[in-house]
Amino acid sequence: MALLQISEPGQTPDPHQRRIAIGIDLGTTHSLVASVRNGVSECLPDEQGRVILPSVVRYLDADRRQIGFEALAAQVGDPRNTISSVKRLMGRGIHDIGSLAQLPYQLGDKPGMVTLQTIAGEKSPVEISAEILATLRYRAEDSFNDDIYGAVITVPAYFDDAQRQATKDAAQLAGLKVLRLINEPTAAAIAYGLDNASEGVYAIYDLGGGTFDISILRLTQGVFEVVSTGGDSALGGDDYDRALVEWVLAKAGLAADTLSPSDKAAMQQAARACKEALSAAESVPFSVRLARASVNFEMKAADFETATAHLTQRTLAAVRKALRDAKLAKDAIDGVVLVGGSTRMPQVRKAVASFFGREPLTNLNPDEVVALGAAISANQLVGNNTGADLLLLDVIPLSLGIETMGGLVERIVPRNQTLPTAMAQDFTTYQDGQTALALHVVQGERDLVADCRSLARFELRGIPPMVAGAARIRVTFTVDADGLLSVNAREQGSGVEAHIDVKPSYGLSDEEIARMLQESFSTAQQDMQARALAEARVDADRLTLATQSALAADVNLLSNDQRVQIDRLMIHVADARVQGDPATIEAATQALAKGTEAFAAQRMNRGIRQALAGKNIESI
């Protein structure tokens, strides 16, 4: 048996001097991974020194795929099997997706979320996103030649529960431990705030490839408080490309439905290239060769601006709404930050500057800023950086409610509530003797259920028969710091209860994820074993470490017996770790987690009580 190490009293032993934590910006057009090295957040490059990974996945056959630049290059030649902008499909049903005519894919209509038919079979957007995330995970592992402890993944602030859950599932599928989902504008603010030590109220205008976010944040001494947020999860640079394609097609007298999938992909790429070139020139040639025609002419910046003015206006409408929600006037804003590659378009910069009456800040690379901020947050969450004490107080972007009689929505959590939050509302039965209640959870701002997003349905059964209106059913919505919802319903008289963690109805079960993990990401049995062992050891170390430092700080909360019991569990973990069987390590880790749960609860309550001590309502 190996000798157990005992550390100096009062010192926390730390086998991993530094835990490797990464921040991932999973974007519509491209994705990045960043990490804090030597105190500086930086994007990690691939072998060729490129930090950007195009968010494109090409399936070659049942087993092989290309991800990134190679896939992007193959898009025109193999449009059906080369998936780009998959972020727009995350957590979305087929009826949610506009402009189907322009998409070169074969979409499948599955309940809850679309699927894409490829040469490798039917793929869900979650699986495709997982390919991108796994590529970035491997890049980070190679950079550090070590395992990744955990990741912060960014999502658009305006993502609803289904889109957030889908993103978290994709990360899990890619074998990443998600420390936190954070909102892209918040991540950008972190990167800016720490670099510039800014204080005040900031507007973060984030126009990406497929999503638009606006967040109003108040920065004070390391606290990033989101005051309000708004946007459009289906508005981005892609739409500018599409508007340009439509303009070109109209000018050339071509109809969209006469184009082959290759033509559509070629038009898309030509439009994007033209758009990018117009950021630096007043006019550029637009040229594309299609199957039966070729299109060549000079595109003017002014025409592009006119063809896309309605899109820019839509972003400004969302900005005005966010200001109204924040109860702030334009002139209360101390600075405007531009984020996202699409803010390179001169017409966007011009419109934002003229709306706020001030030049926006653009001194950080708009492509990288989100990943950089995510990495800073990840580094802090794993406890590497206790110096910079930052705290994120984010809000829920869209209201949550329950369907009531007549297809109306009863709002339970209004938008822009600071997270985490729990809110409750009482409901009652409609008929005499009613013993069950169907609950339909929806998200959105409209009054009719049909106009909101359906998140989940569940039932509360076993209500004792009473006259109509006598039962008191309290429905509690709890939204965690990631913006993910769980719902609890309880009949107050009888105590009958029902609970669900809201998962979009495409819901990958944990078993499915485990199966997919086996199938997709490990070819050789040995690899899988090695990975499982490494992961089990990281988990075991994580918990052992937390327990040791808890004991060092608060051992006086425990009786002698309790202390001995916890020590015994830690020894089991250490033994299992040496033996090297993943399942045994996991079991021992589980046992330790269970055995220290009460201790953890005691510590937490004591810590927070101390912070609150002596404060009551009179002293606030």
Binding site: A317, L381, A481, A600, A601, I608
Partner: protein, 158 residues
């Protein structure tokens, strides 16, 4: 507790408490610690929400002093107040542009602010909680109207 509160002090105190209790502080610890941190963090947010919003704070004070609001069963309003409400609603129905609506919103906001000053007077100086409760009910009407105007503007801009 006084109705009049320094918002900056309240904000600072809220952030100070969240620094202690927010689940992110316990990200490296187990699920149990996370769960408890979340419960505390939720309660702190709840308290802050109730205290920072003047209308909620006023309602809470009335309730504490035995004058609950019960808005749904106390719908009687002074006549001139109702007249004003009707005029605003007619104006809102007639409004066609965002500017029109902004004007209506700024008028109702101004009346709301005046009402808040009166509430402060009633609560902190005369300490007449049932009179304050009636003023709170009136202000709730105004705030509901203002949020309807905002919703109309949102719709118009979509």
């Amino acid at each position: 507790m006084q109705f009049a509160q320094d918002r900056a002090v309240l904000d600072a105190r809220w952030k100070e408490l969240q620094r202690e209790a927010h689940p992110d502080k316990f990200a490296a610890q187990g699920a149990a610690a996370q769960r408890i941190a979340m419960q505390w963090s939720v309660r702190i947010n709840e308290a802050y929400q109730r205290l920072k919003d003047p209308l909620k704070r006023a309602s809470y004070l009335c309730e504490l002093h035995g004058a609950p609001i019960h808005a749904e069963s106390n719908t009687a309003m002074p006549t001139d107040f109702l007249m004003q409400q009707m005029q605003w609603r007619e104006a809102l129905d007639a409004a066609r542009t965002v500017q029109d609506m902004d004007e209506i919103a700024s008028e109702s906001n101004a009346v709301g602010r005046e009402m808040l000053l009166k509430i402060e007077q009633t609560l902190d100086v005369s300490r007449d909680f049932s009179a304050a409760a009636q003023q709170v009910r009136n202000l709730m009407f105004i705030e509901r109207f203002t949020s309807e105007v905002d919703a109309r503007i949102d719709q118009l801009e979509q």
